[in-house]
Amino acid sequence: MGVSRDATQDEIKRAYHKLARKYHPDVSKLADAEARFKELGEAYEVLKDPEKRAAYDRLGKGWREGQEFRPPPGWDQGFEFHSGGGSGAAGSQFSDFFESLFGQGFAWGGGAEREFHARGEDSRAKILIDLDDAYHGATRTVTLNRTELAPDGKPKVTAHTLNVHIPKGVHQGQHIRLAGQGGAGMGRGKAGDLYLEVEFRAHPYYHIESRDVYLDLPVAPWEAALGATVKAPTPTGPVDLKIPPGSHAGSKLRLRGRGIPGKPAGDLYAVLRIVLPPADTEAAKAAYRDLERTLKFNPRARLGV
């Protein structure tokens, strides 16, 4: 938590509140926010209670020096204490360290609401898909790291691979719910559900906003000025697009219903970008000079100069 060993309880509380806001998984965009928030909660659980903090201070020191650990009387009240397993966890990770000390009941979500027959926790993960998947539907595999209880009662991280159908028409931020694929239930409790949050892989020229798709379409100055019919790519194949005369850079041309399919389907917007031909030959330079002479164009007229 970044507090010094002699921090006051008030300082610890302030540091916790500040970091909790920063790393809350619903607020932070950091990929590992959830893990950090969990660690923070575990650390605070110990440090906010002067008795447990004293226990940790002693233990923390003893642990580093490799000495035998003798818990002070009464410090483990309310926690399941794995006295035998503790030595095996003398490894490195802070989080494992706490879990092996205080038992699994200490984990995120709290032990209080867990009964012997409880439904498993719902879990969530992100799934990265391509724009094409949303247009046509697809099958993707997802690998999830899951913390589970091994038969000896210690938490263990295992990798699970799932084969998931991506329904046609999903869009950014939506959740695919897979019933029964979340955390295992306790006792006869049913497993929780898994929620996969849909995220699109960045595309070189399409941008997705909700169900609409945007395309930056480069056009020549004369195509914008005089109007033209140009070829434009769309995720379902190229189309002929009519550019009206007098178009500007940033003009949006809407192709209704060519966005992400669904009810209603999204739209595809071609946003015009005017690209200047390079003046890299004598002929090109002459053409620009012709324009300059003929048009007497002052692009800064509206700036009053």
Binding site: V27, T161, H165, V170, Q174, H207
Partner: protein, 106 residues
Amino acid sequence: MKHQLLPLLSGEVLEEHENLTLEEFCRVCRVSVDEVYILVEEGIVEPSGHEARVWRFHGANVRRVRCAVQLRRDLGVNWAGAALALDLLEELQELRTRLRRFEGES
């Protein structure tokens, strides 16, 4: 090759559900009926239907509810504060998406 042998899981898109009953909504959000009453009162979710018996909830609200419940539990904000944070987070998300489009141009 190994992946071909895994069973294919088909899920449902949460946000496509438009007519969740109060009971279904509570189950998916994992909140109590009493909490839903508060959430409706605070305007965090707006069901269709004029009385609780005929309320229907949109799947897109599930995420809002879960987020509000977690913010309240983890950060100690009250319901009104959670509602405000939710609105701001959604706006932020929208702006980030739009910003990505403009920054991507360069």
